[in-house]
Symmetry: C2
C-alpha cells in the first residue's frame, strides 16, 4: 500500500525544492512503517492538469499506513508541507496492481 | 524516464476497467521501447483533486520515450484511451530521482 502525494507546479521551484528536500522529506523519512520513498520529477506535461513532483511512500499494508497517518511524525511532516505548499497538493492511498 | 498517466474517477468504474484493462493496456504493451508498466489503483483521497488510476510506463531514457510517442502503436493506444476517457486524464513525462 502506498501513500501518494502529487504537488502542483510551485511559483518558485527553487524555494519549493529547498523546503521539500531540505525540510519535508527528512521528516517523512522518520514516519514509522515507511519502507521506501520514490520521488518522481515531472519534466513535461502533454495532456490535462500537470504536476511538479510526485512522492510514492511504500508501507507494508493498509493497517501500517493507517498507523503512520496517525503518528506524530506524519503530523510534523504534514505541517512542514503545509508551511510552503498548502492547497497545492493531492494526497491519496493507492495499491499497485 | 517514465510516461505517467493519471485518470480521473470515471462515472462508470466497471465500464472504465473493462475498456482500460481489456483494450487500452494490451495496446500500450505493444509500444516499442516500453520496459515495464506499473498500475496503481487509488483507494482513498485525503487532500486535493483525487484520481482513479495511475499508469507509470518505463523507458530507458528520454530518446526512447520520444520515439515511442511518435510510434503508430502509441497513436493506437492514445486513440483507444480517448474513446472512453477523453479529457479525463493527465499525461506527463517524469524522471525518478
Amino acid at each position: 500500500m502506498k501513500l501518494i502525494a502529487l504537488s502542483k507546479q510551485p511559483a518558485d521551484p527553487g524555494a519549493f525544492d529547498e523546503a521539500y528536500f531540505g525540510k519535508h522529506l527528512p521528516l517523512i523519512q522518520k514516519v514509522p512503517g515507511l519502507h521506501k520513498t520514490h520521488i518522481t520529477r515531472f519534466t513535461r506535461s502533454l495532456a490535462g492538469p500537470g504536476y511538479y513532483l510526485m512522492a510514492e511512500m511504500e508501507f507494508a499494508d493498509e493497517a501500517e499506513l493507517k498507523v503512520a497517518m496517525k503518528s506524530p511524525e506524519m503530523a510534523a511532516a504534514g505541517e512542514s508541507l503545509d508551511s510552503f505548499a498548502k492547497g497545492m497538493y493531492s494526497l491519496m492511498f493507492g495499491e499497485e496492481q
